[in-house]
Symmetry: C2
Subunit: 353 residues, 2 copies
């Protein structure tokens, strides 16, 4: 089994490509950069992500990090250009694979997909830490060379990410379920808000903000992603439609039992999502604190929680209507809730459960 | 116009009823409590929320805070029991109104609906601060006595909430859109996770957690709520189904233009939700910070942000898989992002954009 010693070529120096390049440089590997945009390559080089690729270079590993529509062609070109192992970081795995299948050199291709990103894009948003602790799917096809798979998993380890090994088909079905379909349904729900009277939207609470948040993502990028995974997405959307039909029928017929089954199933689904650090979901308690909307108040609040020696598992800030007061929800381990509440109250914070 | 001087009777001493009672007591009003559960009344009384109602009491205002299925009957009984103004805090307004319409005393009924709640329920979770800065819909029907409307709006002001005046029909259409339909779609998306292989769910990111979070709510309560608003909900679900059909067709036909229109409309919808404090949504920048998962770290981080004199608009903590490192996203006013980033980096924090 070969060791990852470089050079590593990164094709596409956007957020993901440049972040991988920076992580490889941090590990002391030589990194070669290429991009249709010469400016992106210059920027990435200036950030210390590597040097522009030259014709005589012989990379050990090529990382293809181009937009979804161009993945297949870029992977094929990289396989033809030399004898390097080739991976990519695209959101969909079966489609690009199909474009390069059926020739011997495909043994050197192992697709992958880091679960990391940012609302920002481009090399300036990149960081070697982007993948810290994140899941990173490695999706070898049936004919992939085991050494090539091992090399790609070394890259994942070097980025401090966590390998999740899946077949390309399972990967695509997985992200259809955990990412693409939630995004598309969030878009449909958000779409119903677009033409609502302003008075209606004054009643928006945290729930609708949570449900629709991802729908703010780039329509161009998401359009490419879901189109590239249309088979798995359509299968799952059809299941959702069947559920929606049952729900409409149940409401029309005042059939509470069917409605209850659908809602119960939703509760089961929220519990199926893995908890923090991949462990089981630990029961948490919420402590609500009313705070003025001013600089420094959260620092004082967290300092007070720290003095109480309670670890905050999660935080949510409620965006209130019409008043310069924020409601902060602190989620803590269930057994620590009462202690935190009492502790904050004794320090003069306005709390409730 | 009469002034709210009490006594205020609260029927149903759960979370909402007891919280309203506590707010009234804080304002010095006499509060009378009733509930099918004598234990709830004892608990609420012990919390200082008022005293049990006795037959000779003559309340000025009655607040009905019972579960959705029992609202209509409880409102009707309260109207018949005396000459008090009657309001309720139910999530749906047209249905209960229909149960009491067509008789003179309905002039004394003005429905309302505070946008507040908690994952906890019962009187022990109650607090006079529950409604601080929250929208509170006041939904008078066409024949409501203006003095009765004014009295209910006094109650809202006393709870430090913000009146949003809507007709009962508009209220129900509004919450169908901002609450009921988002909840039902979140349940359907979450339902698709319930039977997914565990390996698939390892790829869950923040997006699917956000989309599905509300689906963890009580199926019993939400079943009652959406059933009580079935006409408005079915109308809107049918619109969502039409959008879903278009989406499935567009993906099947590789029709990127139609897909793009649907995704663009979702973006518009996320922008239509009012921003913090009811103002327009201000553009924000995200600063990501990698932090160890240990007590006190958030206090130190927020102290560092406070020293940089940057106001944190929102916070999200990313639940990483497999590592005891958390990624904290700080959302700040767009113009302050670079400053916060530089400031945190100079203090040794591991940040990226």
């Amino acid at each position: 089994m070969s060791e990852l010693v470089g050079p590593v070529e990164v094709i596409g120096t956007g957020l993901l490509g440049t972040s991988i390049a920076l992580a490889c440089r941090r590990a002391g590997l030589e990194v070669l950069l290429s991009d249709l945009s010469a400016e992106h390559v210059r920027t990435a080089s200036a950030l210390g992500a590597g040097r522009p690729r030259t014709p005589g270079d012989r990379p050990q590993l090529v990382v293809v990090a181009v937009p979804p529509d161009h993945l297949g062609a870029a992977i094929a070109a990289a396989l033809r250009a030399g004898d390097a192992v080739v991976t990519d970081v695209g959101s969909v795995k079966a489609g690009p694979l199909a474009e390069v299948a059926g020739e011997p050199r495909v043994r050197r291709y192992v697709g992958s997909h880091p679960m990391a990103g940012s609302e920002r894009s481009g090399p300036l948003a990149a960081t070697a830490d982007l993948f810290e602790g994140r899941p990173w799917a490695v999706a070898p096809h049936a004919d992939a060379d085991p050494d090539a798979v091992a090399l790609v998993e070394e890259l994942v380890a070097l980025c401090n990410a966590v390998v999740v090994r899946l077949s390309p088909e399972d990967h695509d079905r997985a992200v259809a379920r955990t990412s693409h379909v939630p995004h598309l349904l969030a878009s449909l729900v958000a779409g119903r808000l677009a033409d609502a009277p302003a008075d209606y939207l004054k009643l928006s609470g945290q729930g609708v903000r949570d449900v629709t948040r991802v729908a703010a993502g780039s329509p161009d990028l998401y359009g490419q992603i879901v189109a590239a995974n249309s088979a798995a997405v359509v299968d799952l959307l059809s299941e959702v439609r069947a559920g929606l039909d049952s729900m409409i029928q149940a409401l029309t017929d005042a059939d509470r039992d069917t409605l209850r089954v659908l809602l119960d199933r939703g509760v089961d689904g929220t519990r199926a999502i893995p908890g923090k650090h991949g462990g089981p979901v630990r029961p948490t308690a919420s402590v609500f604190v009313s705070v003025p909307d001013e600089p420094g108040v959260l620092a004082r609040l967290f300092a007070a929680a720290g003095e109480a020696e309670v670890n905050i598992e999660d935080v949510r800030i409620d965006h209130d209507l019409g008043r310069a007061v924020g409601l902060v929800e602190l989620l803590v381990e269930e057994s620590r809730g009462e202690h935190l509440l009492a502790s904050l109250e004794s320090r003069g914070w306005v709390t409730h459960r």
